[in-house]
């Protein structure tokens, strides 16, 4: 009988750090990824700088109307756009392809023989795609901020309730808003990993984060109950708005961030389990559609139901969250802040918000329907007092409130206050801050109830 060879030493598994570098090299060598990196670090700055020089501003986008006034509006406009389009597409192209690329190239067996651990391959791939996504997000944020500050300047920013943020405060909150937007980005990236593992070379795997993001956006447009809205993993793409009020509306933001992170963790764990179960030796290697549904879709559907239940129970939120008293409070607060701004523009004696005692009286549908819920049929009358005068000032606004709590207040007169888009200042005409402005209604019940 022939003897076998002397036992060879056991093969060492490749450390995650080396696998991570290997995955990064592969990602960065793709022209598509290089193009994305360059685009994310250059295009937003150019876009913000160019738009800031235009006479027509993107007033439909939050903070777009302030792009002439401060460079800190640019990165927030970019964040609004990124949350809608750019980040879902970026996560699709990076995380949605990181596993599918090996299927397409037929390199799984090669990789397994080299690394000898599916667990480490998964971790390395997830970390590498996370790194690239962070690099892209940092580019979007940094480039748009730089473009805005260079083109317009480091000026104070008008918040969503009309109060002025100092440039330093604005910079901090812009940074925080982008950091918060990372949470839903991670959720989409994890869904991308799951799609990439479950669907392999199918284009559906690549498109999954973008499709999920689109579905989430459509859902946010519907008159859903607040608990459902907040339990959707993309809500933090909207909830960062709350950072720009005083006091900040942190409740919806924290819920949105936590929900997104739970989704990110769950989807990554599902992708991990699905990946470990994969048989790489079978010529028909891949994951069956049935297994993808049972191991991928069903748990996420269960997670959605659970988060809706938890958010509903914890927040006590019911209905749309848009109620008459909250709308009135929010509008009056914003008006008072912006009135001070206008007073300053007109070189009049300063008044404080407390002195103004601004109150709003709002009705919906001409008073024919209950004063709650989104719609463009809100009409509000604001009244205020000036120190030393007995007369009460009044102004009318038409409000268009969307289901996510954001509103646009459109001044309806009088002309001297809010009826015209320009005000005559000692140094010439300037945009009238009271003519049209954006605001935000906190969807969660207020502490007072």
């Amino acid at each position: 009988m022939t003897a076998t060879a002397a036992p060879a030493p056991a093969a060492r598994r490749v450390p995650v750090s080396r696998g991570y570098r290997f995955e990064l090299v592969k990602l960065v060598s793709q022209w598509r990824i290089r193009l994305l990196v360059v685009a994310c670090w250059v295009a937003p700055g150019l876009f913000v700088a160019a738009v800031s020089q235009q006479s027509s501003l993107p007033v439909d986008t939050l903070f777009g109307r302030w792009m002439h006034a401060t460079g800190w509006a640019g990165p927030l406009v970019m964040l609004g756009f990124a949350g809608t389009w750019a980040l879902p597409l970026l996560t699709s192209m990076v995380a949605g392809d990181v596993f599918a690329a090996e299927d397409r190239l037929g390199t799984w067996r090669h990789l397994l023989v080299a690394v000898r651990s599916p667990r480490r391959i998964f971790v390395a791939k997830a970390l590498a795609s996370l790194t690239v996504i962070l690099l892209l997000v940092a580019g979007l944020a940094g480039s748009s901020a730089a473009g805005g500050v260079v083109a317009v300047g480091n000026q104070p920013l008008v918040g969503l309730d009309g109060h002025l943020l100092t440039p330093a405060d604005a910079a901090g909150r812009v940074l925080l808003a982008w950091v918060c937007a990372l949470a839903p980005t991670l959720a989409l990236a994890a869904i991308g990993l799951l799609g990439s593992v479950a669907l392999g070379r199918s284009p559906m795997g690549l498109l999954l984060p973008a499709l999920v993001a689109l579905a989430l956006q459509l859902a946010q447009m519907l008159p859903l109950p607040v608990a459902v809205r907040l339990a959707l993993p993309g809500y933090a793409f909207i909830a960062w708005n709350g950072l720009f009020t005083s006091p900040a509306q942190l409740g919806p933001l924290l819920i949105g961030v936590v929900v997104s992170l739970v989704w990110a963790g769950t989807a990554t764990a599902l992708a991990y389990l699905l990946f470990l179960r994969r048989d790489f030796t079978s010529l028909t290697s891949g994951i069956s559609g049935r297994r993808a549904v049972t191991a991928g879709v069903l748990p996420l559907a269960g997670l959605l139901a659970a988060t809706v239940a938890v958010v509903a129970a914890a927040s006590g939120a019911t209905g749309s969250g848009i109620e008459q008293d909250k709308v009135q409070r929010s509008l009056a607060t914003a008006f008072a802040h912006l009135y001070r701004l206008q007073t300053g523009q007109l070189n009049r004696p300063d008044v404080t918000e407390a002195q103004l005692q601004a109150v709003a009286a709002c009705t919906k549908g001409g008073g024919q329907v209950a004063g709650r819920g989104p719609g463009n049929d809100w009409r509000c009358v604001i009244s205020w007092h000036l120190p030393g005068l007995d007369a009460t000032g009044t102004a009318i606004y038409q409000l268009d409130i969307t289901a996510d709590g954001r509103f646009v207040a459109d001044g309806d007169g009088p002309k001297e206050v809010n009826g015209y888009f320009l005000v005559r200042t000692p140094v010439g005409d300037a945009p009238n801050p009271l003519w049209q402005f954006d605001g935000n209604v906190d969807l969660l019940p207020s502490p007072k109830g």
Binding site: A8, W31, T281
Partner: protein
């Protein structure tokens, strides 16, 4: 004393659902031996090579690789390299970058990992800095071999390494494998090209429908085989034909017309009868210019052992 075994497999069985890919396979491969694995498509070759690379573990049976029992997936010992289903290359990287990334993955320094040396061995020095997305199949095969060589393997497992190789590339690859074997590396390769297997391998295993139908030296295969057709080219074809017809155990295959060469004589015989014919030709003063099997012994054996009987067809 026989060389120690690099691979010792006993009763290896592997199923994918209801499909039995390997059914009680035994395999011995000695150190420093180039061992061929042949069989029809779907016979189980790739599955067996996958087990040798550790991509999966057998459902039943025992497998020892380089003296180490393999009981779970991806647990083969150090020193095993190769590829199945084609080499894994990343098209966005150059040939050199592919190898450097692999060397770095294994903890080596790309500058000292011998990348230039292995590229030279497989004849890819001139295209070392080209992206592999423009590589032909043969170039990809050679780069896959270079990637395996980087690890200085003791056991090299290659799935159809000659696919797509031009004659020069084939010669280069054969040279590399022969040199490795001479240095003590065992090589297991699958191929559908019998000429490659005959040129390279000292032993061969033929598998069909997941079972081993032959395993042993090529010479034994020829001896065990049925009669073969041989082509003879002589100085006096009519005399040669007469002598062949008169020699016991020789039958003349009258297909010269088909082969479009009137001087060519094809005879069917076992080796002893053929030896007798050669002696008689020389004795009769007929010069023998060429004597070769029409179909190689391996190919003939392959067809005989793997094709279903006439009655079943």
């Amino acid at each position: 004393m026989a060389a120690p075994l690099a691979i010792r497999a006993r009763g290896i069985t592997k199923c994918f659902g209801d499909v039995v890919a390997l059914d009680g396979v035994d395999l011995d491969v000695a150190q420093g031996q180039i061992h061929g694995l042949v069989g029809p498509n779907g016979a189980g070759k790739t599955t067996l090579l996958g087990l040798l690379l550790g991509l999966a573990v057998a459902d039943r049976g025992q497998l020892e690789i380089l003296g180490t029992p393999v009981r779970r997936a991806l647990a083969v010992p150090d020193g095993v390299a190769g590829f199945v289903d084609g080499p894994g290359l990343y098209p966005s990287l150059t040939a050199r970058q592919n190898l450097a990334a692999l060397a770095a993955l294994r903890g080596g320094d790309a500058r000292t990992a011998g990348i230039d040396d292995v590229l030279a061995q497989v004849g890819l020095t001139e295209v070392a800095d080209d992206r592999t997305n423009g590589f032909s199949l043969g170039m990809r095969q050679r780069l896959g071999l270079a990637a395996a060589l980087l690890t200085e393997p003791r056991l090299l497992v290659l799935d159809e390494p000659s696919n797509g190789l031009d004659p020069a590339g084939k010669r280069q690859v054969h040279g590399v494998l022969t040199r490795l074997a001479a240095q003590g590396t065992s090589v297991v390769l699958s191929s559908h090209r019998m000429d490659d297997v005959e040129a390279l391998c000292s032993e061969v295993t033929i598998v069909a429908t997941g079972r081993v139908v032959f395993s042993g030296p090529l010479g034994k295969l020829a001896a065990e085989n049925r009669e073969l057709d041989y082509r003879l080219l002589t100085s006096d074809p009519p005399a040669a034909r007469r002598l062949a017809a008169d020699t016991a155990g020789i039958s003349v295959v009258d297909d010269a017309g088909v082969r479009n060469d009137a001087d060519l004589l094809v005879v069917r015989a076992l080796v002893p009868a053929l030896d007798e014919l050669v002696v008689r030709l020389v004795g009769a003063g007929v010069a023998l210019r060429e004597l070769a099997p029409v179909v190689s012994p391996l190919e003939a054996a392959f067809l005989a052992l793997t094709e279903p009987p006439e009655a079943d067809r």
